[in-house]
Amino acid sequence: MKVRQWLLTVLALTLGACLAAPSALAAGKVQITWWHAMSGSRLKVVNKIVSDFNASHPGIELTALYTGTYAETLTKYVAAYRSKTAPNLMQSYEVGTQQMLSSGAIIPVYKIPGMVDETWDWAQYVIPITNYYSTAGNLWSMPFNSSTAMLYYNKDLFAKAGLNPERPPMTWAEVESYGKKLLASGAVKHVMSFGWPGWMLEQQFAIHNQLFANNENGRKGMATRVLFNGKFGVKVLDTWRKLAKENIFLYGGAEYSANAAFQSGQIAMLLQSTSSLSGIEKGSSFRVGTGFLPRLEGYPRGNSVIGGASLWVTKGQSKEQLRAVWAFLKYLAQPKLAVEWHKGTGYFPAVNAAVQELLGEGWFSKDQNYLTAFLQVLSGRRDTAAATGVRMGPFVQIRQLERTAIEKATSGQVSSKAALDEAARKADQLLADFAQMNK
């Protein structure tokens, strides 16, 4: 009996201490919250950044909350905004950009230094990344985790098929001829798959400098019509369709579900986000090679598009809170931190100085594959809207429509043109609705 009483007392005291501790510690601190969608190994990196930030900023208590996937985080943010309980800072995926711009719920980051009586050098950020999140030359959200897409290939299977393992295919024609050799050698039954199919279609438009939607890809004014069912889109989808018919292309599902086939050696090539690099290298028992996204011959050069997410600052905070949020955003821009972020997650560091530092320490010569990811996005042109990437209000739905079109066309159900036309018709309706509601 006595023991039990003791235990209860101890338990009650511990509980009380636990409850009291944070509030006691936080007394007099500026409280800010950040909602993000970083899970798994990325969550660990985020948590370390946050605790280091709190340790080095005694006046601020930043609480970072994992609020589910990007879509869930955005849904929760909307609900919270409507009930006036939104966090100070939130992470939104790139397809949510126009939605956030039109929301009226946020402060564009370029205005924040002025609001807290500071100045800031915006030129320190990597240009293709800031371009993506800028409107009329001004940055609206803070780049955080940025990636692009590239080609991964299995060097061992290439060697087995008599191909040069150090030379990835550069064009779709080469993908086809390599694919035929790989099939003929019996090394694989299928050759290539994609992650994020809709995004890969968008990538093809961008790397060939083709507009995906009107009004300069929705960057000059709001996009009201998609252009992906034009000649170029049909050409791309026909290429994939042909590869599917020849058993070279194997549709692998949404997001990261195709990675398993690549990592188990069932296929020899994969188009996937650069952020999968460390995962794929760690999880594969063969030599992993990387290359640029395959191109169509005879089209102009553009640039690959940025994916990932950025950080948005909520409107209507007190000046102290805004100052604290800004302190955190500045903290993220430190080269040391950006390097740590890159090494921990594979996402691009957002500041130029961090790229310099990585170059200086020989990070890329240690693993060429990381260099491919950088060159993929840094070697293209930066001056056209087509190469910067498309911006649409109902982007999440439209990307889904793209995926459906790709599924229908590559499985041979309908022609490429018919699949894209159907998707475009629906997309135009969505764009019209969005434009009407967000005039």
Binding site: L250, G253, A261, E407, M437
Partner: protein, 301 residues
């Protein structure tokens, strides 16, 4: 002080019963009735994602729904899915329950082995099936390819196959639940009836259809209802893990479409209209089923 209470009269203040049921009524009103009325209202509006602007559009959301081929395709997929879950699911579980009801050695083991699927969360069940059927790495496509001499079973591109696999997974997941109820129903049937039929010269088949099946009808009715609700509303997790509505929207059943429109696309108007339509359809189906079934059901005593 009145100590003697009449039997029919409630002891205490006449309003007390209302007070006592108030909490449950309040829960229902706050969490069911009120949100429902709200979504009825929102189905007549077009609203921006952040709720900054809301425009009355009359019946436009419904009009779009009924003229949209996507909604029709989704409704057809839902009906096929529900029919599979109800018909195949109940037939198989009745057959299994009947077998389990025989006196055989190791009965307890078989019962547990067949019932445990119900204890799995939809996420786990979905992951098991997705891994089993993964086109390039899964066990089932591998076996199919070996047996058929190279047929590639890729449900990530084949819509009908995907719907079939998802339906099978959903049925499998519910099997344990159905078996438990059928087993209980079977064990409640007095053995005299079965013996009497046997004495009259009825074979096992005849006995089953003329004695066992009719006497099980309350259980069957109940399970039909539960499985319908399950097929319409409770398979979200399974779909989300396995196909996310793909390929080409082949498994985009209504509940998943609703989730997408509401939470992914932030289109409350369309999603509200859909939920109202689903509500009406389910209510009608439930009423018909209960009416029809209570009339026909033979309640054994």
């Amino acid at each position: 002080m009145e100590n003697v209470v009449e039997e029919e009269k409630f002891p205490g203040h006449p309003l007390l019963p209302y007070l006592l049921i108030l909490p449950s009524v309040a829960v229902i009103v706050v969490f069911l009735v009120f949100p429902f009325l709200q979504s009825v209202q929102e189905s007549f509006f077009a609203t921006t994602a952040f709720g900054t602007k809301s425009v009355f559009v009359g019946l436009r959301n419904y009009e779009r729904l009924f003229t949209s081929p996507d909604f029709r395709a989704s409704a057809v997929a839902t009906l096929l899915f529900a029919a599979f879950v109800m018909v195949v699911g109940l037939s198989v579980s009745l057959a299994v329950a009947h077998l389990l009801n025989q006196k055989l050695r190791g009965q307890g083991f078989y019962q547990i082995a067949l019932i445990w699927t119900y204890a799995l969360s939809p996420a786990v069940a979905g992951a098991i099936w997705a891994l089993m059927f993964a086109p390039a790495t899964g066990f089932v496509p591998y076996v199919v390819a070996k047996l058929s001499g190279g047929y590639l079973m890729n449900w990530m591109t084949n819509g009908s196959l995907a719907l079939l696999v998802v339906s099978a997974a959903a049925t499998w997941k519910m099997l344990g639940y159905n078996i438990v109820f059928f087993l209980a129903g079977l064990q409640n049937i007095p053995e005299e009836f079965v013996d009497a039929a046997r004495v009259d010269g009825a074979g096992p088949w005849r006995t089953f259809w003329d004695i066992t099946f009719p006497m099980l009808s309350p259980t069957t009715t109940f399970l039909l209802f539960v499985n319908m609700i399950y097929a319409f509303f409770q398979v979200f997790g399974l779909i989300d893990i396995m196909t996310q509505g793909g390929p080409g929207d082949a498994t985009n059943i209504l509940i998943y479409k609703l989730y997408r429109d509401a939470f992914l696309y932030l289109d409350t108007g369309a999603a509200s209209a859909e939920s109202c339509v689903v509500f009406v359809v389910i209510s009608v189906a439930a009423i018909i089923q209960l009416r029809f079934a209570t009339r026909k059901a033979i309640y054994a005593r």
